[in-house]
């Protein structure tokens, strides 16, 4: 029967649009880890702030999708830099666990500070996209699905371009490779790290706006679960490796979609974290990770 293939293809579409969100958030995790070896647990909450900035732009300022997206990305980029300068920079030479705990603290600060400022009530995005639905041979594709996948792919290509071909991208790669050597070569390490936070946070904000528009609801705690999932995606692809985060995100989205499609929707989150555990056991450096020999 054709309906089985139809169901499978539908799950692929669902998985890709879900996965593009994970991928965008995972990029921020991976970039920050790549450069200062910090798991920035506040990253999901930066996404939440981005979603609220976008919501404010579309409701109060009556903006359309692209300007709202740019505003949200700018707000989150500034927030990301501020967090780095205030909370993480003083701890750059402290133990790793100290910065990790600080990251968790920043995360709670954003979540519950957010509750205080915007109230814990959920908000709904106004309809930003047309409700057009394309029916391709029984497979339903929403206008929103296409925007989501296209926006994330455009942003990923843009990021790739920045990292590969610009001066700041070269600096980022140098700092990530060896911070002290980069410093000796005259690279401004502080600015490079700030730029990394800005770019990562802007990508998270884009994911937040897309999520808000797509699912129509936002609340101050919305960043927790996607944040954790994106972390799984980043580890899956090999944390610190940019293409790995993209692949990890899409892989996780598709897996979740298929687990639900098989009728085990309540096991979906369990499967996501089971994958994390398996990756950590079998290939701790992730799918794209190379085993780096420890320098002595």
């Amino acid at each position: 029967m054709g309906s089985v293939t139809e169901q499978v293809l539908q799950q692929i579409v669902n998985g890709l649009s879900l996965g593009s969100i994970y991928a965008l958030v995972a990029l921020g995790y991976t970039m920050v880890y790549g450069i200062i070896k910090l798991i920035n647990f506040a990253h999901g909450d930066v996404m939440m702030v981005g979603a609220y900035a976008g919501w404010f732009a579309t409701t109060t300022l009556h903006m359309s999708f692209i300007p709202a997206l740019l505003i949200a990305m700018t707000v989150s980029a500034i927030l990301g830099v501020l967090i780095e300068r205030i909370a993480y920079k003083p701890l750059r030479n402290a133990t790793r666990i100290a910065s990790l705990i600080t990251a968790i603290g920043v995360s709670f600060f954003l979540e519950y500070g957010g509750m205080l400022v915007v109230s814990p009530q959920m908000r709904t995005y106004p309809p930003v996209f047309p409700d057009t639905i394309y029916n391709v041979g029984g497979i339903i594709i929403k206008y929103g699905d296409i925007v989501m996948i296209v926006t994330s792919i455009v942003l990923m290509v843009l990021l790739h371009g920045i990292v590969k071909y610009t001066k700041i991208g070269k600096a980022m790669r140098a700092v990530s490779f060896d911070t002290e050597a980069a410093l000796l070569m005259g690279i401004n390490v502080n600015n490079t790290i700030s730029a990394t936070f800005a770019i990562g946070s802007a990508l998270a904000a884009a994911a937040g706006v897309l999520m808000g528009v797509y699912f129509n609801t936002i609340n101050p705690l919305m960043g927790i679960i996607p944040g954790l999932k994106a972390f799984v995606a980043a580890v899956l692809g090999g944390i610190g490796i940019i293409p790995g985060a993209m692949v990890g995100g899409f892989f996780l989205g598709l897996t979740e979609s298929f687990v639900s499609g098989l009728g085990a929707s309540t096991w979906r989150d369990a499967v996501a974290f089971l994958i994390l555990i398996l990756v950590l056991i079998v290939k701790p450096s992730g799918l794209f990770g190379k085993n780096i020999r420890e320098k002595v």
Partner: protein, 387 residues
């Protein structure tokens, strides 16, 4: 050492006895009657609790303007349970032991009410939940919970009304269930829907689950429900998830009737799902806002808050007035007298209908309404009386 310890314990215990007496004595002479509200003011069910609290405050204000109860003014003490069972226990403990309230109103959801049962039973404070509809809230294992009351009908009745509506009015033969895996409320409704739907010759073709509070994307599961091709989909959840489920289902081209319970009763459902997606959906509720009996309340509520009340506000209002009536009948704020006044309540005229408490189960006997969404508004369809 051990002797010293036991002496100290005895001393402490007797001290607490003395202060305990002192507090009760103080309360008697106090000028006000304190009533606690353990409500969902934030979190997933915040819309229910916030509206109910406004209505409770309104009811108390109106009563105080008439001179209060038993010659004393009513004072409302608010406490937020954050839509979380753990916080509900904390809030009840605070209200019962620190604020020394004579009764607690709330919580709105069954799960949060169940979490408060032990605390209020131990401290002998009657609790009335406006909308805790799960069977086990007042009655479990053949025994009534002496200190727990409610102002609403129960889930089995709600599920029965929905099932009969599906098979008799909608002529549905095949139903799918989409249940919140963590919710006592959702599971209770689904069970009674399934039993009653099967009794009238229907068939349940799919049973799927979701996790309220963390799931946003229901499409993967909806693909499965769609493939089972039901006539009607029963979603006994709360507005936030229901809104997303109905919206995503319509986007996927599912044209089936969606049915639900009182958890749908919030204007935010329309914000999330959109008016168009809600066409051809129905839900069971405690009353309808376009019922003429509600008119005065709606006017008063709008006058005070400048916003439209919903059915949760109406039940909050009924709950507050039920307590006031019970205090008047008891003629005292003593826990035991208040408790028996609530237990023997007969012929209470609430705005959501007449209410009689069944002393054996503490369940009120009252009617249910079926509402339909039309252009983003819930419209009263029919009233169903208990059998």
């Amino acid at each position: 050492m051990r002797k010293l310890f036991s002496v100290a314990t005895v001393a402490l215990l007797s001290l607490s006895l003395v202060t305990g007496c002192g507090a009760t004595g103080g309360q008697k002479s106090a000028e006000v009657i304190k009533v606690g509200g353990n409500l969902e003011l934030s979190g997933g069910a915040a819309a229910f609790g916030q509206y109910a609290e406004k209505a409770i405050k309104l009811a108390f204000e109106q009563q105080n303007a008439k001179g209060g109860v038993l010659g004393k003014k009513l004072e409302y003490v608010s406490s937020d349970n954050k839509s979380d069972p753990g916080e509900s226990t904390v809030a009840s403990t605070k209200l019962a032991t620190q604020d020394k309230v004579v009764a607690i109103l709330g919580p709105m959801t069954s799960g949060n009410t169940l979490a408060a049962v032990q605390v209020v039973t131990d401290s002998k404070v009657p609790l009335i939940t406006p909308t805790g509809t799960s069977d086990s809230v007042t009655f479990e294992n053949g025994k009534v919970k002496p200190w727990i009351f409610r102002a609403c009908f129960i889930d089995p009745f709600q599920g029965q009304v929905a099932a009969n509506f599906a098979s008799d009015t909608l002529k549905a033969k095949k139903a799918a269930l989409f249940i919140d895996q963590k919710g006592d409320y959702s599971k209770g409704l689904a069970t009674s829907f399934e039993d009653n739907f099967k009794k009238s010759g229907g068939e349940v073709v799919a049973t799927e689950q979701y996790v309220a509070g963390s799931d946003l994307d229901f499409r993967a599961t909806l693909v499965r429900i769609k493939a089972a091709n039901p006539d009607v989909v029963f979603v006994p959840g709360y507005y936030q998830e229901v809104g997303l489920i109905v919206k995503q289902a319509r986007e996927m081209g599912m044209k089936q009737v969606f049915l639900g319970g009182d958890g749908w009763g919030s204007p935010q459902l329309v914000d999330v799902a959109g008016a168009a997606a809600l066409e051809n959906t129905y839900y069971v509720n405690h009353g309808a806002m376009d019922d003429p009996g509600m008119a005065q309340f709606i006017k008063d509520f709008q006058g005070k808050y400048n916003s439209e009340p919903d059915t949760f506000a109406a039940l909050g209002y009924d709950t507050a007035n039920l307590l006031i009536k019970a205090l008047e009948n008891a003629g005292s704020t003593e826990p035991e007298k208040l408790r028996s006044a609530l237990e023997t309540m007969k012929g209470f005229q609430g705005i959501s209908g007449e209410l009689n408490v069944d002393p054996a189960t503490h369940n009120p006997v009252k009617s249910a309404a079926i509402l339909q969404f039309k252009e983003g508004k819930s419209v009263f369809m029919t009233k169903v009386n208990p059998k």
